[in-house]
């Protein structure tokens, strides 16, 4: 019953996230300026732009991780399934269960693989061993690492390689069945092979989970995303299909950035 309520609350429609007139301030500093964008369901959307352009900040607004930042003030609306996630009566737990997140550096908890993945489900009240085991198997399968890890579930997650740790973090995020997955430079700490595996994983996941990925690596955005948004100094300069952005961008700033002539 409880579970049903939680998923019902933010049922994404064709537009997974709709951001309108978003302004964000850190104290007096305006980090995001009038952002308007709709993220389509079942696609991979990439945010690109130079450091400090606001792309990560915007990403963190979508599961309200910015609530943890002191002096952060957000204007405008973020709608998921027609509900403003900053509106009254929104339960953070419910929101974050539906909008998962993977971070720049792999951050598995220093416990076993199994406990890492069951952390989320336990939080939502699942205690039954069989159910938990099923969730572990399912999550690891979706993260394409069940075969790698099925015999090492009780081993410490910290004993895994960096790439495995990051995929475990993806599996952990998937364990609560989010509808949207935010990825904040998920491969910047990884080698090319692990990066390739994670990109492949993203492509497989996007059928069921809408993915928004922040990346410094333009080639990565070009490889895996369907739509790309280019940010500069807190503004969304251009937002279009990835092919359009990378072959024939509308704005000169976009062109200069993606051709490496920025600044």
């Amino acid at each position: 019953m409880k579970e049903k309520r939680i998923t019902d609350k933010f049922e994404v429609t064709d537009v997974a996230v709709s951001m309108k007139n978003v302004n964000l301030y850190y104290g007096a500093f305006q980090a995001l300026k009038n952002i308007n964008m709709d993220v389509a369901k079942g696609e991979i959307t990439a945010f690109i732009g130079p450091s400090g352009c606001g792309k990560s900040t915007l990403l963190k607004c979508i599961n309200r991780m910015n609530d943890l930042v002191e002096g952060c003030r957000i204007e405008g609306t973020f709608e998921i399934g027609g509900r403003n996630i900053y509106g009254a009566g929104v339960d953070l737990q419910t929101l974050r269960r539906n909008v998962g997140m993977v971070f720049q550096k792999p951050n598995p908890f220093p416990v076993s693989v199994y406990d890492n993945i069951t952390y989320g489900p336990r939080l939502y009240g699942i205690r039954d061993k069989a159910t938990l085991s099923a969730i572990v198997e399912d999550s690891l399968k979706r993260a394409a690492m069940w075969d790698e890890l099925k015999d090492r579930l009780d081993k410490s997650a910290l004993a895994l390689s960096g790439g495995q740790q990051q995929r475990l973090c993806i599996a952990r995020a998937l364990s609560v069945q989010p509808q949207i997955l935010l990825m904040d430079e998920p491969t910047s700490a990884l080698d090319p092979i692990s990066t390739g595996k994670i990109e492949e994983l993203c492509a497989e996941l996007k059928e069921k989970v809408t993915i928004i990925i922040v990346t410094h690596n333009m080639q990565q955005a070009a490889r895996i995303s369907d739509k790309t948004g280019f940010f500069l100094l807190g503004e969304l300069i251009e937002y279009a299909s990835t092919e359009k952005i990378f072959s024939n961008p509308e704005k000169e700033q976009t062109e200069r950035y993606i051709t490496g002539r920025f600044g």
Binding site: E199, A222, E243, F246
Partner: protein
């Protein structure tokens, strides 16, 4: 991964192979039409050329998209480059086959130019071998095929002389002769295109293009 390099490259390769086989078929038909003119058959070849043009556009687009999105390196890079370059030659061959077929429509009976027919046979062989060398990554075959171009050039000279001699003997033949000369020129060009394809086949395998040296 539907957008993955592997998938995209494989699809490009198979589309390209299909297009090559279509063009081969068109050339074979054109050769046959010279021996046995057939309006319907000629129209069919011309229609196929339209399909080939479309396929060229698709494959070109696919190549560029792959370059843009997947940033191929090494063999992948050479394969895409090969396809992107060779496809122009293949398309031209298709055009010329269609042109030959078009000219054949004005013929009432079999053209009795032995040299011209030989050129047709040689052109088809060169196209087939060059495409095979590219698709099968066969450098040896590519080298052999390029040598055939000399034979083609000799045949072209011979064909020209023969036709000129025929005009001198029979000025009424001039109208037909002009068309035959064009066909000869088409075959000669097809030979050149085949050589180009062979050169790209070599590049695809070795990374060296003879004209880049």
């Amino acid at each position: 991964m539907e957008n993955g390099l592997e998938n995209r490259l494989n699809k490009l390769k198979s589309d390209f192979a299909k297009m090559c086989r279509t063009v081969e078929g068109m050339l074979a038909s054109a050769n046959a039409l010279l021996i046995k003119p057939d309006r319907a058959g000629a129209a069919d070849v011309v229609k196929k050329d339209k399909l080939v043009d479309e396929a060229e556009a698709d494959i070109e687009n696919g190549c560029m998209r792959l370059l843009l999105r997947n940033q191929p390196f090494a063999k992948d890079f050479r394969d895409v480059s090969c396809i992107l370059k060779a496809i122009t030659d293949v398309e031209r061959i298709g055009d010329q086959a269609a042109d030959i077929a078009g000219i054949s429509m004005s013929f009432d009976s079999s053209a009795e130019e032995k040299t011209l027919l030989k050129m047709g046979t040689l052109a088809l062989a060169m196209v087939r071998d060059s495409v095979n060398s590219l698709l099968n990554e066969d450098v040896e075959l590519a080298e052999k095929t390029q040598i055939l171009d000399d034979e083609m050039d000799e045949l072209f000279d011979l064909a020209c002389k023969e036709i000129v001699r025929k005009i001198q003997q029979n000025p009424a033949f001039a109208g037909t002769a002009a068309e035959l000369l064009m066909i000869a020129k088409y075959y000669e060009r097809i030979g050149d295109h085949a050589v180009n394809i062979c050169e790209w086949a070599e590049f695809g395998n070795t990374g060296i293009h003879c004209k880049h040296q």
